[in-house]
């Protein structure tokens, strides 16, 4: 821990950082909601929120007050205990992920967990339990379909996600988030663009962002797993969704964009980190606003037949390079990796079709 940091006492550090993380997540979520709504407005030739406060800046606060004041309605036939617990189980992992996110060199709730990224992967998949609990306990068919979709999609996309992270781990030679940032002088998305693409796609599916937002799918299953949630419980899911987006953006910034590093990073590292998070989130907004939603069979096919082989190939290439060059990849491999990525993506997208998905039905 460097000298900028005043808390050598373990409990003081823990207390302060727990509060910081909580505030960061809540503030981050509010900022994300605002950025997304303004971003959508920009893409869709409309204003976005512009009434509450200057440039609509207080809109997230107004939203928060609204959900706080709303009546909490629980369906009569719902499994009440599970229905109550689901938003908690859904939201908790989001907070826990931030335990290992390094905001600055050596600064985090757990400053340098040596299996940091493994922890992130493990914790982030807990969220699906909350989603399934919500869908099951609501006793509503739309919720159930949403929950089943959630199980299928989140579990499937976990695999390409982890494989793409493994590539980064292989390059950095470390499982620690700090170690990964410090391992190289260039952002890793330049060195492993294929890995970044796979990561971004899988992360978006994992956190239920369009075009992969099938568990919510309001045009088909109304709102899926949280259709029977109102007021603060709904807000918890909303918070979890955007919190997860924040977490995934933070992880992408850490793994592929060198986290806090940047010109003057030793002083303004956190600022760099925030800029990178917003950049990754901006990519997500752009994709969400431009693409229609996939269908469930196409979603599964995309994970297993498109992303999974690409992630595997990427891992083999990276591993081969690491072994071949003894862990020190020469600069010209940058161009080779980009060429390989472009060729692979082009070939795969030509060869792979999302598929028709019709089933013969006997009368």
């Amino acid at each position: 821990m460097n000298n900028l940091y005043p808390f050598d006492n373990y409990w003081a550090h823990f207390g302060v950082f727990a509060v910081v993380v909580l505030l960061f997540v809540i503030a981050g979520v509010m900022a994300f909601i605002y950025i997304e709504r303004r971003g959508f407005g920009l893409f869709q030739m409309r204003m976005g929120p512009n009434r509450a406060g200057p440039w609509g800046l207080f809109q997230p606060i107004a939203d928060a007050i609204k959900v706080l004041l709303k009546e909490d309605i629980v369906p009569d036939v719902a499994d009440k205990v599970v229905h109550f617990l689901a938003p908690v189980v859904g939201f908790l992992p989001v907070l826990l992920i931030f335990a290992v996110v390094p905001f600055h060199e050596g600064h985090g709730l757990i400053p340098d967990l040596n299996v940091g990224i493994l922890y992130v992967v493990a914790i982030s998949s807990v969220g699906v339990v909350g989603v399934f609990m919500a869908g099951w306990a609501s006793n509503n068919k739309y919720s159930l379909i949403g929950a089943m979709r959630a199980m299928a999609a989140m579990v499937s996309y976990e695999i390409p996600l982890v494989l793409s992270i493994l590539g980064v781990v292989a390059i950095a030679g470390s499982l620690s988030m700090n170690g990964i940032v410090q391992a190289h002088d260039i952002p890793l998305f330049l060195l492993t663009p294929l890995g970044f693409l796979v990561f971004l796609a899988s992360a978006m599916a994992e956190i239920n962002r369009g075009p992969f937002d099938l568990l919510e799918a309001d045009s088909e299953i109304v709102a899926g797993f949280h259709v029977e949630y109102s007021g603060m419980k709904f807000a918890m899911f909303y918070l979890a969704e955007y919190g997860h987006a924040l977490a995934m953006s933070a992880i992408a910034a850490t793994l592929f964009f060198r986290g806090w590093e940047g010109p003057g990073g030793q002083y303004i590292g956190i600022l760099w980190f925030l800029v990178k998070i917003v950049f990754v989130f901006g990519l997500m907004i752009w994709l969400r606003v431009a693409f229609p939603r996939l269908r469930i069979d196409q979603l599964m096919g995309f994970a297993w037949k498109f992303l999974f082989p690409l992630a595997l190939i990427n891992l083999f290439i990276i591993a081969g390079e690491m072994v071949g060059f003894d862990g020190d990849i020469p600069w010209w491999m940058l161009f080779v990796n980009w060429a390989v990525t472009i060729v692979l993506v082009l070939v795969f997208s030509r060869a792979y079709r999302l598929g028709e998905g019709r089933v013969e039905v006997k009368a």
Partner: protein
């Protein structure tokens, strides 16, 4: 090993974001696969046909606005056409041109909304194309407002003509719109035509077999998407449609993409018609035939039909020589088009019900009349 799962029944609607109004589908599902579908309508029933029997022929025009409220002008036109046939009234030439201009503007406006909502059904975040299309639709609504002061329920056509003439600023504004619109159509195609997800969600999905379409008397873009070149404007020309050059765009397979594509092409053809109509329109002031206040058509019956944006819209009138029709029956295109929905979605997924339903372009006001 085959895993056997239990089927279950899912009620989609009447309150559902994608049923374009209050429409209910009783869907039998196996997982996500549609095993059966039963359309249930009537939640918006207002008894318009019955109401019409208690009103004078002129008063009924405002009821027709409320059928398919996204194409009120063509509804007006079909109805007044039937009355004019019944009473033997001839509309002056300028009136006919004005009606054609209104009809074609309505077609473009309706198709913009139809395609926009259809794309919206593919995923709510894809509100984007809908808003792009609404940008042009707004311009059309401005034009409609200029003509008759209304933006949705126009009530503009009258028996024997139209309620009043175009204001002087209307035709220049329309010419500007017609000149600008092709570039916007290009823009939509740039935005959508090569979108991989859009193609995967629509191509080959919700196929309507040609024979079924003909046998079920499906009409409009839904019929033409199956490759049948049938358009009332050509098959039984009304107004002055026989004076214009235009093509009937047809699809090949009758899938969701073809229906989208046919509508896009129809907008181009409508612009062609508008161009010709503006050029050929006579300058005279005469746009209305002399029609008595209380019309007493002779005993008999008449059927007037037009090619509305959704298909063949027909009004069947029976007169007993009184001031109100003895019987009015409406042939609503979307009601008949909707009867094929079940065949189109069986074997597909829940998500495809929504898109296929959207591709039919229904308006519940017309179905539950």
């Amino acid at each position: 090993m085959e895993v056997k799962t239990e089927r279950f029944v899912l009620n989609m609607g009447p309150q559902h974001p994608s049923t374009h109004g209050v429409f209910r589908m009783r869907v039998t599902l196996d997982g996500e696969v549609v095993m059966d579908l039963e359309p249930k309508f009537g939640y918006l029933h207002r008894g318009i046909e019955k109401l019409a029997e208690t009103r004078t022929y002129t008063q009924i025009i405002s009821l027709t606005d409320r059928l398919s409220y996204l194409s009120s002008m063509t509804n007006n036109h079909a109805y007044v056409l039937a009355v004019e046939k019944l009473a033997g009234i001839t509309v002056p030439e300028r009136g006919e041109y004005m009606r054609v201009i209104m009809d074609e503007m309505m077609r473009i406006s309706n198709h913009l909304a139809a395609i926009g909502f259809f794309l919206n059904d593919l995923g709510a975040s894809v509100f984007t194309p809908l808003l792009y299309m609404y940008r042009e639709r707004e311009k059309l609504l401005d034009l409609f407002e200029m003509v008759c002061g209304q933006r949705l329920l126009y009530n503009y056509m009258r028996i024997g003509g139209l309620s009043h003439d175009f204001p002087s600023e209307f035709l220049p504004a329309l010419k500007r719109f017609v000149a600008e619109m092709p570039a916007y159509l290009e823009e939509y195609e740039d935005l959508l035509a090569e979108n991989e997800i859009l193609l995967a969600r629509t191509k080959g999905v919700g196929i309507l077999p040609r024979e079924l379409a003909i046998n079920a008397s499906i009409s409009g873009p839904v019929l033409r998407s199956t490759g049948v070149k049938w358009d009332i404007r050509k098959a039984d020309p009304y107004s002055v449609y026989d004076r214009f050059e235009f093509d009937i765009p047809t699809g090949e397979t009758g899938d969701n993409y073809d229906r989208y594509w046919v509508r896009m092409q129809e907008m181009r053809q409508s612009l062609r018609i508008l161009n010709q109509a503006i050029e050929q329109m006579p300058k005279s002031d005469q746009m209305n035939a002399a029609v008595p206040h209380f019309l007493h058509p002779p005993k008999g019956e008449a059927y007037g039909h037009v090619e509305s944006p959704q298909g063949e819209l027909g009004f069947y009138l029976v007169s007993d020589n009184s001031i109100a029709p003895y019987r009015l029956h409406i042939r609503a295109p979307t009601l008949i088009n909707l009867t094929a929905l079940r065949e189109m979605v069986i074997g597909w997924k829940v998500a495809d019900i929504v898109t296929t339903f959207g591709s039919i372009d229904v308006c519940l006001g017309e179905i539950d009349r």
